[in-house]
């Protein structure tokens, strides 16, 4: 195609670039790119290089400091121990509920609307509500006591469970809405075809719906996990921030805003991002093993 004829040289290279898909329209992309580079990539690499310039010691001493201190190192495990089960529960619980609600029925809009409410509550209000509701004199414990299910109030706040519940309350509706939209994106005629061929619902679910849904579930898990992994306000407010729920974001925050040790805080932030990306990479690698084509529902 280089036989475009003898043109002016400037027209020539423009033409050749345009053939490869580069022309003036791409200018529209520039503001967003500049923005992402200036406010995301630059700070990220700045933090990365800062983490190798500790206030004292060699380039890796802040990382060594983090991993040699059991109190600090333990935050990774604490965070994963809260975030993984919460994300898993949110996704797994969302599947049967979304499966049941994917058709059209009366009040569907009401149910989905109600499920969006917790997303808007935000972590801080949820924390406040959980403190009131699940606290030792809250309604939940009162009901348990009144029905004689327990003899003394169950301790559900200021420990692991408080944080776990706040993650379920904020994460489940989110997971549900995502799973529901992935499920509705699967062409229902596929399942009807399977039914015509004599498959019962169990086989239809495991052989047709579930494989088509798997990539969506992996994505949902990743997004829910990101939300749960960065748990911060609820770990402070309904958790036990000095011990059981001292999550890694809290360690990073304390390094930055209580000790003013920015290199160390950056090092913790980098470790945090790394651990999270490892989990996501594992899930996405598993996802690529599933079917990832059109699910027929996109119109």
């Amino acid at each position: 195609m280089s036989a475009a004829g003898p043109g002016r040289p400037s027209a020539h290279w423009r033409h050749r670039l345009a053939e490869r898909g580069i022309d003036r329209q791409l200018i529209l992309l520039v503001p967003a790119l500049v923005f992402v580079i200036a406010l995301f990539l630059y700070p990220f690499f700045y933090g990365l290089s800062l983490s190798f310039q500790p206030t004292d010691g060699g380039p890796f001493s802040d990382y060594a400091r983090f991993f040699s201190d059991a109190y600090e190192r333990g935050t990774i495990w604490i965070t994963l121990r809260i975030a993984l089960p919460a994300a898993l529960l949110n996704v797994l619980a969302a599947v049967p509920i979304a499966y049941r609600m994917r058709g059209r029925f009366r009040g569907k809009r009401l149910v989905t609307t109600l499920l969006v409410v917790p997303i808007t509550l935000g972590t801080v209000l949820t924390a406040q509500g959980l403190l009131n509701f699940l606290g030792p004199t809250g309604w939940f414990n009162r009901i348990l006591l009144a029905t004689h299910l327990v003899d003394e109030p169950v301790r559900l706040t200021h420990n692991y469970w408080g944080v776990f519940f706040s993650l379920v309350i904020t994460g489940f509706p989110f997971a549900f809405l995502l799973v529901l939209s992935y499920l509705s994106g699967i062409d229902p005629t596929l399942e009807r075809a399977a039914a015509t061929l004599g498959a019962d619902w169990r086989r239809r679910f495991t052989r047709i719906t579930l494989p088509l849904l798997m990539p969506g579930l992996a994505t949902t898990f990743c997004l829910t996990f990101v939300l749960a992994f960065s748990v911060f306000p609820s770990a402070v407010l309904v958790g036990n921030p000095a011990g059981e729920t001292r999550v890694i974001s809290l360690a990073a925050y304390q390094a930055a805003y209580e000790q003013y040790d920015y290199p160390y805080a950056s090092a913790i932030a980098m470790i945090m991002g790394f651990v999270e990306l490892v989990v996501i990479a594992v899930v996405l690698a598993a996802r690529s093993r599933f079917y990832t084509g059109a699910t027929g529902g996109k119109g």
Binding site: G21, W139, F140, V168, F205, L223, A256
Partner: protein, 295 residues
């Protein structure tokens, strides 16, 4: 403890080994039971804050021993809520406007064109959504403080733009893909330039999508805690951050005035939500739903 671990029947109904018709029933009951249990607890969480904010004194009883609205007035004065709400609104409007201005053109290019490096660029736009806010928030706040941009409203707006712009791009791309490219070609044939195509042809067609993503960004910004928390100064706190500070310093303030503030925050979010749901069907965010095809 088993009685309180929420939502025990978490496994899919596929594991039930009963026949359909007959068996759809118990599975359905379990599912609805879990949903109702979830909602009851949710109701308890919200209602306990609401009741407490109107209660005079509430210690070891089912309900407070008297009702008053004075906590609202007290919270309003104590926390300088008027200023906080004004800041919240200013920040949100700025974030929504800027993220649309930056995001929509980029979404257009990503939806319509293919060019070398497109996948890489897409990945870069995806990263801020995939990373926990604290991870990039701390380096970002450090950089913003270095340039003197943090600790005031510009820092809060800039930090909140980081997840908002990619969010606009991701939500707008499917909307743009739906528009027939021949409409643009026709406009081009009639002599419209790129700007005219955008202003006169695309924008009117995209209004539903723009409204949807604007409202979602608004809800996210009002609710965004971490980034605002890391970059806000004393007079640029949004409502969530002010609420957090009042809660973590709660021995000083009465519990009820914190509750009152939480109720104010929730009602603000609910108003936004009701407005949002007029324009957005929450299930249509990921895929364009084929809603129940004809039988």
């Amino acid at each position: 403890m088993a009685s309180i671990t929420q939502a025990p029947p978490a496994r899919p109904p596929a594991t039930d080994d009963r026949r359909r018709r007959v068996t759809a029933r118990p599975a359905a009951w379990i599912v609805w039971g879990v949903v109702i249990f979830f909602f009851l607890n949710l109701l308890g969480v919200v209602a306990s804050v609401l009741v407490s904010s109107f209660g005079r004194r509430w210690f070891d009883t089912w309900l407070p021993d008297g009702y008053t609205t004075s906590w609202y007035g007290r919270a309003w004065d104590e926390f300088a809520l008027l200023q906080v709400i004004v800041v919240t609104l200013e920040v949100s409007v700025l974030v929504v406007g800027l993220s649309l201005l930056i995001g929509v053109p980029a979404a257009y290019v990503l939806a319509r064109r293919s060019f070398p490096g497109k996948r890489l660029i897409f990945l870069v736009f995806l990263l801020p959504i995939l990373m926990p806010p604290i991870t990039y928030g701390i380096p970002l706040a450090t950089v913003l403080y270095k340039f003197g941009l943090a600790g005031n409203m510009s820092g809060v707006v800039l930090a909140n733009l980081v997840p908002s712009v990619p969010f606009v791009i991701l939500t707008m791309t499917p909307f743009i893909e739906q528009i027939d490219p021949r409409i643009e070609s026709a406009a081009r044939m009639c002599g419209a330039g790129l700007r005219t195509v955008f202003v006169r042809v695309l924008t009117p067609l995209l209004v539903p999508g723009i409204l949807a993503s604007a409202i979602l960004v608004l809800v996210r910004t009002v609710g965004m805690f971490e980034l605002t928390f890391l970059t806000a100064g004393p007079d640029s706190q949004t409502l969530v951050v002010a609420l957090y500070y009042s809660m973590s310093a709660s021995g000083i303030r009465a519990q009820q005035s914190v509750d009152a503030m939480a109720v104010i925050y929730t009602s603000m979010m609910l108003v936004l939500l009701v407005v949002a749901l007029r324009y957005v069907n929450p299930t249509q965010l990921v895929a364009q739903v084929k809603e129940d095809p004809e039988h």
